[in-house]
């Protein structure tokens, strides 16, 4: 036991000595949380609208004022020619255009029926759809005002309740994803590189011939990373609670227990990679391409899994981070208990057992 402690201390010194890497390990999640939390939103605001006003009357002027007053839009240019639309879109000076035809107000006042045209820059399809919807809503409001209190017959209204995330912020979706990503990075990539470095430098040989048991060598290697990861999880949760205002809705204890479980999965993956590679570069490439990329792609926090073609959806089931991401989302955002995450936990445990068995089998006490 004392031997193990001495070894763990040695490993800790190794980790703490490389200040640059350490800075990035703790700095990266903090930057990510801040960027995800404050910079990335799905909301639309101040989108540039080009108005082509060929009517020049009271109604078109009032509608333009309404649009400009809304927080979604900024009226960038008022022009008279539809030719300007293409130019404005090509230079990114407008995202959407509204065309008032000649005699718009007159028709609206006299026949109570007039036409308008919306032209959207659909190079970004989702933004185009959202902007079109908001613009239509503003126009519908204006119609209501025009109707001077006369309600149209058979009016269906909708009341919308946004559950869990009423302001449609990005943070509740991203925080669990960032946790999964960072754990993957620290546990898999750092662990495998650290072990392979000893191989590459030849110091592994010295450790193996010492009276210290090979399995304990591995154990001593992974313990610092386990502690480092838990510290990382704690710092992310603190940031998310106090800075982003996304607190843990469920049990914090359960979240840490589940995280510890996932960390063990990652560490066993890291050990497995270190047993099959011989150079740091190879270990880096395997963890980067084989694990980090799939984690970003398939855990569901950046890219919606249900939109992917079936083969990719099937592959996503083999990515441990996907299951962990679901667990964190359930506990942290929805505040659900252990019964909701039983299935995911069982799958992760199964994966861990397989990984440990395989890496134990692959772990060679001899170098050649």
């Amino acid at each position: 036991m004392k031997q193990l402690l001495v070894f763990v201390r040695k490993e800790f010194l190794h980790v703490l000595r490389d200040k640059r890497t350490l800075l990035i390990l703790f700095g990266m999640p903090i930057m990510q949380i801040l960027i995800f939390g404050f910079a990335l939103t799905n909301e639309v605001k101040n989108a540039q609208v080009l108005i082509v006003d060929q009517a020049h009357d009271e109604d078109s002027r009032r509608i333009i004022e309404e649009i400009d007053a809304s927080s979604y839009f900024d009226v960038s240019v008022v022009s008279v020619s539809t030719k300007d639309i293409a130019k404005a879109f090509q230079s990114n000076n407008a995202r959407i255009a509204l065309v008032f035809p000649v005699g718009f107000g007159e028709k609206l006042q006299h026949t109570r029926n007039a036409q308008l045209q919306i032209v959207a820059d659909a190079s970004d399809p989702n933004t185009a759809t959202t902007l079109r919807f908001y613009l239509t809503t503003i126009l519908a409001d204006y119609q209501q005002q025009m109707s001077k209190g006369a309600t149209p017959p058979m009016q269906i209204s909708t009341s919308v309740r946004m559950l869990y995330n009423p302001q449609l912020r990005g943070a509740p979706n991203f925080v669990p994803g960032v946790i999964a990503l960072v754990l993957m990075l620290v546990c898999v990539m750092m662990t495998s590189i650290a072990i392979v470095r000893e191989k590459e430098l030849g110091t592994m040989e010295i450790l193996l011939v010492s009276p210290f048991k090979p399995l304990l060598v591995l154990l001593a290697k992974v313990i610092p990373y386990l502690i480092l990861s838990l510290a990382n999880v704690a710092s992310i949760l603190l940031l998310s609670t106090f800075v982003l205002d996304v607190p843990v809705q469920g049990s914090v204890l359960l979240l840490f227990a589940a995280s510890a479980g996932f960390i063990v999965t990652c560490l066993s993956l890291g050990i497995l990679i270190s047993t099959v590679t011989d150079t740091q570069q190879a270990a880096m490439l395997v963890s980067m391409m084989g694990l980090l990329l799939p984690t970003i792609l398939f855990s569901g926090f950046m890219f919606p899994i249900e939109n992917m073609p079936l083969p990719l959806q099937l592959i996503s089931n083999a990515v441990p981070a996907k299951w962990y991401y679901l667990i964190v989302k359930d506990i942290m955002i929805k505040g659900l208990g252990i019964e909701a995450i039983a299935k995911e936990l069982a799958i992760l445990t199964g994966m861990t057992l397989v990984l440990i068995l395989v890496s134990l089998k692959k772990f060679k006490v001899r170098l050649t």
Partner: protein, 372 residues
């Protein structure tokens, strides 16, 4: 000049000898361009919808039919109470619950109004927002449908009607590939060139061969040029492969001038090379270089407007993105490829990226020491 040529020869030999690097240049971009646009599909379709129909009339059935016929929604099923439907949301099987109140049809006829309840799983903001927009539009359409059918309009009414026609330019079928592929290509070129430059120089440091070069009469600028020119050429090769893949696989033919793309990328690559060079002057080991490059890439990508629009960012973040070269590249690719923008539209982008390139390269050269 002769010295530079020899250095270039050496670099190219080393690159072509290393299979990992060749794979990174040739195979990785192709695979990523094939997989990423499939995965990074933000087109919101197949929104899982659960319906609690407390009315059970002809009217409510027709509404449901209209919603499912739109193609945006996938009917998860009918639940007999809101609580049951909410349980489906908790397990992530349902995105939106539509509750039709009892007496929906009757109220609509008698009191002229009726209210529908939408409960949306809003953890994924994009999906919740777009899903609600789609559903509200369909309900509006349904509303005007029954109005036209059942309500007899008075001869002269105060109700004003504005007919809105909409058209979508540049991408009339609203294909998401069209939007993502040029952006992802920009990302690939940036990543490959940054990593290769940063790792290449640090490797010479780590292995110790840089000392040998340092003691030769090779000048600082010759060494740096010898390192940068090969990767500048490789960057253009990756771009060409990417453009070919997007043409062959996704059928995306740039609307604008291809020469303009190459002109911009030629300048942009100087900027990326400068970044790689700068990272390599700060890092001592390949592992460090890798982590530092990863860190900056992550920030550049997130603030590059690839996934979420820059317009929606708060003002301070928008200001930060102005210093982000990746943002300009993604912008320019999308402008030229999708919209056919011309030189005058991208002139500012070109100038800014050129400026960033000068700053980064100067910094890197000042920071680079022949002696350790």
């Amino acid at each position: 000049m002769r010295i530079l040529l020899f250095l270039l020869q050496k670099e190219f030999k080393q690159i072509f000898r290393n299979r990992v690097i060749l794979g990174m240049i040739l195979v990785l971009p192709i695979i990523q361009l094939l997989v990423l646009p499939q995965a990074a599909n933000y087109e919101v379709r197949n929104i899982a919808l659960s319906i609690v129909d407390n009315d059970r009339t002809e009217a409510s059935r027709r509404l449901v039919q209209k919603i499912t016929a739109s193609g945006y929604f996938k009917l998860d099923g009918y639940e007999d109470s809101y609580e049951h439907a909410q349980a489906r949301i908790e397990t992530d099987e349902v995105d939106i619950v539509l509750e039709i109140p009892q007496g929906f049809d009757r109220n609509l006829v008698r009191t002229n109004t009726a209210t529908l309840l939408l409960a949306v799983n809003a953890i994924n903001g994009t999906k919740a927002g777009l899903g609600t927009s789609y559903l509200s539009s369909i309900i509006l359409e349904y509303n005007s449908g029954i109005r036209a059918q059942w309500a007899t309009p008075p001869k002269f009414s105060d109700v004003a009607v504005v007919d809105i026609q909409t058209s979508n330019w540049f991408n009339p079928n609203m294909k998401y590939d069209m939007f993502m592929v040029p952006g992802i290509l920009a990302l690939l070129v940036t990543m490959v060139v940054t990593y290769l430059t940063a790792l290449n120089i640090v490797k010479e440091k780590e292995v110790g061969t840089i000392e040998q070069i340092n003691v030769t009469p090779i000048k600082k600028y010759q060494f740096i040029l010898g390192k940068l020119i090969p990767f500048w050429i490789l960057g253009l090769v990756v771009l060409t492969i990417g453009l070919l893949v997007s043409r062959l696989v996704y059928g995306i033919v740039p609307v604008g001038n291809i020469a303009l793309i190459y002109l911009f990328v030629g300048v942009y690559l100087l900027c990326v090379l400068g970044l790689g060079l700068l990272i390599s002057t700060f890092a001592d080991t390949q592992q460090q270089a890798m982590f530092v490059a990863f860190f900056f890439m992550m920030i550049f990508i997130m603030l590059g407007g690839l996934f979420t629009s820059i317009d929606g960012m708060p003002d301070w973040a928008e200001t930060v993105t102005r210093a982000n070269p990746v943002r300009y590249f993604i912008d320019v690719m999308r402008m030229i490829v999708i919209k056919g923008s011309g030189f005058s539209d991208i002139r500012n982008h070109l100038l800014i990226v050129g400026g960033i390139a000068v700053v980064l390269n100067t910094w890197a050269i000042v920071n680079y020491r022949k002696t350790t």
